[in-house]
Amino acid sequence: MSKLNSRITRRRFVAGAGAVGLGVFAAPRIVRAQGGKITVLNWQGYGTDEKWALEAFKKATDIEVVHDYFNSEPEMITKLRTNPGAYDVVLTNSAWNSVASGEGLVQAIDTTQISHFGDLNPSLRDSALLTKDGKVYGVSWVWGMTAIAYNTEKFNPAPDSVEVLWDPKNAKRVSVRDDAIEGVSYGAIATGQDMNHPKDLDKVKAKLLGLKPQIATLWSSEDEWNKLFQSGTFDVSVYWSGSAARSKNNFKLPVGYMVPKEGGIGWFDGLAVAANAPNLSGAHEFINYMVDPTFYVEWATKVGAPASANTKANDALPAEDVGRQIHSDQAAIKRLQFMAPLSDDERQTYSDLWTEVKAEFAK
């Protein structure tokens, strides 16, 4: 008898749970936007989704900003291809903007709607990587470097050569990012070659294999870097400049930053408008806000950011701001090689090379 009872009660329970599930699942979540809305596609936590910024933007323009994220550039392209008309603003790295514009995934920007356009650094603003046939397909937004970050408590005096990564004194104290392009680039820089199209890949590979006794581990996100650095897993690594500023500012980590005398990687990002963007004027307004010095200064000082493409915005930073100091070192900037678009074959070759290097590391 009790078995029968328990079975009936159980059935009811299961039905009840199912009803709860369906109710939760089907509950409408409707967002009503009065001033219109825009959808932004970007890395997560990369400036455009700062809560305070979106609130300020909404107050000023009555536009609601919704975000979608990607975790890799090929994914960004895939999302653009498979979601036509879903996005308004897209972040494109300088090496990828031409891919997007070549396929018609982003449209020409009406620069008259960008009031700060004239304040942008000309070498970035007018770069061939963001323009095509005289039209602008990406508004240069931020730029930064990928160079060497080191623990100031362990390195005195500061290192100045990329060979610090290969110095046997630093065995098992080094880290690099798990990224094929970055790996090959630094292998090229360390062997004195063009980082985008190195001629002697065997040399690059041999150099990278030399890192095997050096690396403690590979890192792949800023968050991971912070945790590993803080726990003393490594003392010197390849790292992004804006992130180094953030690690120092926010997390009070003893981070020093330098561009090796052999060279470093430079990169810049541009904000693009997707083809078939549903809210064209909203997209332009948002981009303009992103290159506005008021937004930038708050972003850089409150959170930490790469350098702005807007020279006025950079100048508005306080002199002792870590990011400003890193990004105004003119001598360092001269040593940078900037990332360029790569062909599919090149990318595949570098990826295979890096996979082989990692397989050696794992042996």
Binding site: Q348, T355, E356, A362
Partner: protein, 288 residues
């Protein structure tokens, strides 16, 4: 067991239809498209027309690194499965046959609960435990102050620990379900006929629970071979797997055909292994 005749065909269709229709629409058709894609020389979404080629499969054969990664992944899957079996089966046996009553329910729930925690969070917690200066290290030094620093993070054992921990509940659950179905009266009967514990286990209990063992092994081996997050987080530079290479093709090179080819090679390897072991397993179950 009823043989398929006209009467039963309706029942078979009605029972398997819904599940397999669902699978076809959401997995088999998309994967077939992916399989086709692995024979193209360009990604399907790229506007330029693509042509058929075997070069991605050839790349697997030409480049030893991918074969190496495949072997490592298969090995990792096997090691994890065997560890889960060695650790999980006795635990399931205890739960099914030794513990009784309310305790059994409680412990069963305890075993199942970690199942529902997020895999990434669990893995990061393991990293915290296993790193030098981490929790395990500190615990060891509380007990034995002179011991050397525990340096197990970023090594193969750490990856195995993490994966075994993730998949252990699978094995315990499936073995338990099978063991629990074995009627105690069968065991009593065998004992009364003079069987001693060792023989009892070998000839009665284990063979009867074999379906559970095989189910657990398959559900662990197959995904473990394709794992790449735990190897990355816990193995660091030592955590190179084929799954990692597949990820590269989707996040760096945008070479979907190659990524698809690698995945289908992995599927083929796993299927071959399971098919090879299947007759041996069948034979042991025949006695039922």
């Amino acid at each position: 067991m009823a043989v398929a005749d006209r009467r039963n065909r309706g029942a078979i269709l009605a029972l398997t239809g819904p599940a397999y229709l669902w699978l076809t629409a959401t997995i088999f058709l998309p994967l077939s498209a992916m399989l086709y894609c692995s024979f193209l020389d360009k990604s399907p979404l790229v506007p330029q027309p693509a042509s058929l080629t075997l070069k991605h499969y050839a790349a697997f054969i030409d480049k030893p690194v991918y074969q190496q990664l495949m072997l490592w992944s298969l090995e990792l899957g096997a090691v994890v499965t065997i560890c889960c079996l060695a650790i999980g089966y006795p635990a399931a046996l205890a739960l099914a046959k030794v513990i009784k009553g309310r305790w059994r329910e409680a412990m069963f729930l305890m075993v199942v609960l970690p199942f529902w925690s997020n895999a990434l969070v669990r893995t990061f917690s393991w990293a915290m435990v296993l790193r030098p200066g981490g929790i395990a290290d500190q615990a060891i030094h509380v007990v034995a102050p002179g011991a050397p620093v525990l340096n197990i993070l970023y090594s193969y054992p750490a990856v195995v620990i993490g994966l075994v921990h993730s998949y252990l509940p699978y094995m315990i659950l499936t073995c338990y379900i099978s063991l629990q179905a074995i009627d105690d009266s069968v065991i009593e009967a065998a004992r009364s006929l003079g069987a001693r514990s060792g023989a009892l286990f070998r000839r009665v209990v284990f063979p009867m629970s074999l379906p559970g063992v095989l189910a657990g092994s398959a559900l662990i081996f197959v995904p473990a071979v394709g794992s790449f997050m735990e190897p990355r987080i816990l193995g660091g530079a030592k955590g190179a797997t084929l799954g990692m290479a597949v990820e590269e093709q989707f996040t760096v090179t945008a070479n979907w055909p190659f990524g698809a080819a690698l995945s289908f090679m992995m599927l083929a390897a796993v299927l071959l292994i399971c098919l090879a072991l299947y007759p041996a397993a069948r034979k042991r179950m025949e006695g039922l």
